[in-house]
């Protein structure tokens, strides 16, 4: 019965609806821009001026790309947490953002209570482990085999609970990340290149390095350990994993714990850049376009998606944003992702969607 085969994807532009939609969207965009610029020199400002600026001040371009790279790495870290969980348990974990806040708050909160910094890190890891066990016991196990959307909903319940719990334990006020105590570097390296100054924050460099190391460790973990192989087996097929005697429950605990570690590291890095507060939860939403770009199941996708989104939105905001009043960063990422998505509906690295009948 294998004479079932992939259904070729429909040609996008052949569809009159899409065509019409694109034209309309284009016209609206053009009209909005035109109005904004009083109709003078619009095309110049869109297509020529930004590139002139790039050429005129290469140091700013380099700085923009660096900024994009760093935020890209941080987006990727959040996305990584999503991917790990989605890959192993098919759960779209809405709670990843709050897990970042919760982990960072626990760390800082413990330190405030007088626990030495490194001990606080270890204790926080313990808390994240307990959280993973609790989530597995209380939420995932009773909901096993439910549709994805139900599990998604359950993670919203977790979010609500963690917000209330975190605030009642640690209070809502923002806290300083204990960057010094964790020997995270401060200050900047100023490079006098490209006819100007490119300033690289040491904390950003550290973030990039730590993220890379963590990704490498995760890759090794997946590739060479028994648990890692089991995780991949689960990702491929729950039933197959069960049939080779892997306990799904253990796997879930491990995956959620891993996501918790990623959340803690993300929280430390973001926290060091601004501060640790519940507002961080909003930043976590930025991981969503990264996810659609990179695919929900691909770790390299999360990384590369993060970088594309990070650099794309910074360059877009910096060079094109002023044309329509700035602040376009809030939605640009989604449009970048959407653009990619129209051509690759499963994301850059996602598993191919094959329709069978």
């Amino acid at each position: 019965m294998s004479d079932v085969a992939a259904r070729p994807a429909p040609n996008l532009l052949a569809n009159p609806w899409i065509k019409a939609g694109l034209i309309v969207a284009g016209l609206i965009a053009a009209a909005m821009l035109g109005a904004r610029l009083d109709g003078s020199g619009t095309l110049y400002k869109i297509f020529i001026d930004p590139f002139d600026q790039m050429a005129a001040a290469p140091d700013l371009l380099a700085q923009t790309i660096w900024e994009g790279l760093v935020s890209g790495v941080l987006y990727a870290l959040i996305a990584l947490g999503f991917v790990l969980i989605f890959k192993a348990s098919g759960v779209f974990n809405f709670a990843q953002g709050i897990m970042v806040v919760f982990a960072a708050l626990t760390l800082v909160g413990l330190h405030e209570k007088g626990v030495p910094a490194w001990l606080a890190v270890i204790l926080t890891l313990g808390v994240m482990f307990l959280l993973a066990v609790a989530i597995e016991r209380v939420v995932l196990r009773p909901l096993v085999n439910q549709p994805d959307i139900i599990l998604f909903m359950a993670t919203f319940g977790i979010t609500y609970f963690l917000i209330g719990f975190g605030e009642s334990v640690f209070g809502g006020s923002p806290k300083q990340m204990i960057a010094d105590q964790l020997y995270l570097p401060k200050g900047a390296i100023d490079l006098k290149i490209l006819g100007g100054l490119v300033s690289l924050q040491k904390i950003d460099i550290a973030a990039a390095i730590i993220a890379s190391v963590m990704i490498a460790v995760l890759a090794l973990f997946f590739q060479y350990t028994r648990i890692g192989r089991a995780l991949r087996a689960v990702a491929d097929s729950h039933k197959a994993a069960l049939s080779v005697g892997i306990s799904l429950n253990q796997i879930w605990v491990i995956v959620w714990f891993t996501a918790g570690i990623v959340a803690l590291i993300t929280g430390i890095m973001w926290g060091a850049r601004s501060d640790v507060s519940f507002a961080l939860e909003i930043v976590a939403l930025k991981a969503l376009p990264v996810l659609i770009l990179g695919g929900f199941t691909s770790i390299p996708g999360a990384i590369i998606g993060g970088l594309i989104i990070g650099i794309g939105e910074k360059i877009g905001e910096f060079y094109w944003g002023p044309l329509i009043g700035g602040g376009i960063e809030s939605w640009l990422a989604y449009f970048i992702a959407l653009g990619f998505l129209l051509f690759r509906p499963q994301g850059l690295f996602g598993d191919k969607i094959i329709e069978r009948i």
């Binding site: 001040a57 209070g171 909003i282 939105e313 905001e317 009043g325 602040g327």
Partner: protein, 441 residues
């Protein structure tokens, strides 16, 4: 089955009716107060809430209330969410609050149209709708001691003072970092007017609410444009991030000036030692060395009745809460004097607010000598456009770094009147003011 439904509805109704029965209507004055100790803005909301709460706790403890009547001060948690603020308003209304402090621009805007129907005075202290300073149009809304427009003016004055005169402003660049929301956009028209008048340039740097902690590209633009000064109309997590980014991007921190809401101790502290020199406008002093704060420490904090840790008492935003409660308390006291009643109503408090005149002498009596500039509210002018100063972060605390500066009332007042008129016209049969002005005060 259906009967159970009916019962449930009835029970619900009864429950909520119970929730809103005026408590102790006879022997105390009910003051409802919004606060946000939860949510993304809780960092700023918590110290303010503590200050407000502790001042009334102190008044009740030390003086036995105001004019012998205890103040039943109740906080309503909003999480800085407009939906919850509206619920809080309805709750406050059903409990016959004598005053409503919305504590967010969104909540203020939603409450303004209702206030004159429900006869509840609104105190939006130096926030909310600038135009509501026009008492002839908004008899129930009060926003002393100054508006964001005054703030923008003082910012420009500060710039001129440092540069050596208004004429030195020519050719300078002032950047406005602002939350991309009505609150953040408030100073824009005034700054643009002044820019035209004095020949400087205004650059706008909007920060979307979702990107409060993600200001990378904005600061790159600042690096590119090289503004001479930056004015930060920000709130919540946006402020510490801005301070950190300024340091990161080598922007001279002394040239970064925040609106009074960007003057939290935590905002500055985020920048570490390098944040020394960060400035913010303010209309009251920080610090615990005022008799009023000492009284709070003595009667409330030391007795373990405060929610604030002792070291936070006297911080800038804590003192702002105290200041807000002081205005409320003085309005109630004034209302008692005018009406001759002990237990005043919302309408009395409105009159009390309208004739509020807190002189230096009165401030001294309150234990607030030098704490704040005198405040006077008038029938037509519900703001007063009072003095403010520039505070500077010295690395550990806020200090007063300039003289009290008078905003240019003549610049602002016409704008306020024009906008108030516009508001009333657009609202369609906005009620004419029927409340009489007090003869004397």
């Amino acid at each position: 089955m259906k009967t159970s439904h009916l019962m449930r509805a009835t029970a619900l109704g009864a429950l909520l009716a119970a929730a809103s029965v005026p408590a102790h209507a006879q022997d105390s004055i009910y003051v409802s107060n919004n606060a946000y100790r939860t949510g993304p803005f809780s960092g700023s909301g918590t110290p303010i809430g503590d200050g407000m709460r502790d001042y009334f706790a102190m008044i009740n403890e030390r003086d036995g209330g105001i004019g012998g009547v205890k103040i039943n001060f109740e906080e309503c948690e909003t999480g800085y969410d407009t939906k919850k603020s509206i619920e809080c308003y309805e709750q406050a209304k059903s409990k016959n609050t004598v005053i409503y402090s919305p504590w967010s621009t969104g909540a203020t805007l939603a409450a303004i149209p209702r206030a004159h129907i429900d006869k509840i005075p609104i105190l939006s202290m130096a926030y909310g709708l600038s135009a509501s300073a026009d008492g002839n149009v908004f008899p129930w809304v009060f926003n002393p001691p100054l508006t964001y427009w005054d703030g923008a003016l003082i910012m420009v004055r500060h710039m001129a003072n440092e540069l050596g005169g208004m004429d030195k402003l020519k050719g300078k660049k002032l950047g406005l970092i602002h939350l991309d929301a009505p609150f953040g956009k408030e100073p824009i028209p005034v700054l643009e007017n002044l820019a035209k008048k004095y020949g400087f340039e205004v650059k706008l740097y909007p920060v979307a609410a979702a990107d409060m902690q993600n200001q990378g590209s904005l600061w790159l633009s600042i690096r590119r444009d090289r503004p001479d000064y930056l004015y930060n109309q920000g709130w919540g997590a946006m402020n510490p991030t801005a301070v950190k980014e300024a340091i990161k991007n080598n922007f001279p921190i002394a040239k970064l000036v925040g609106v009074w809401w960007a003057g939290g101790d935590d905002d500055a502290r985020a920048g570490g030692a390098e944040a020394k020199g960060y400035k913010s406008l303010s209309f009251h002093q920080a610090g615990a060395n005022f008799p009023v704060i000492q009284d709070i420490v003595k009667h409330v904090v030391d007795k373990g009745k405060s929610l604030a840790p002792k070291e936070k008492v006297g911080e800038n935003l804590y003192n702002r809460g105290v200041y807000n409660s002081m205005l409320v308390a003085e309005a109630i006291r004034n209302a008692q004097t005018i009406s001759g009643k002990k237990v005043v109503t919302g309408e009395d408090v409105r009159r009390g607010l309208e004739t509020l005149n807190i002189t230096d002498a009165r401030l001294k009596e309150l234990g607030m000598e030098g704490f704040a500039a005198p405040v006077k509210v008038a029938c037509g002018d519900h703001n007063g456009h009072h003095k403010a100063y520039v505070a500077e972060w010295d690395g550990t605390k806020w200090t007063k770094a300039s003289d009290w500066m008078e905003p240019l009332k003549d610049e602002v007042r016409p704008l306020i009147e024009a906008n108030a008129k516009d508001y009333a016209e657009k609202a369609g049969n906005w009620p004419k003011r029927t409340e009489a002005c007090e003869k004397s005060s």
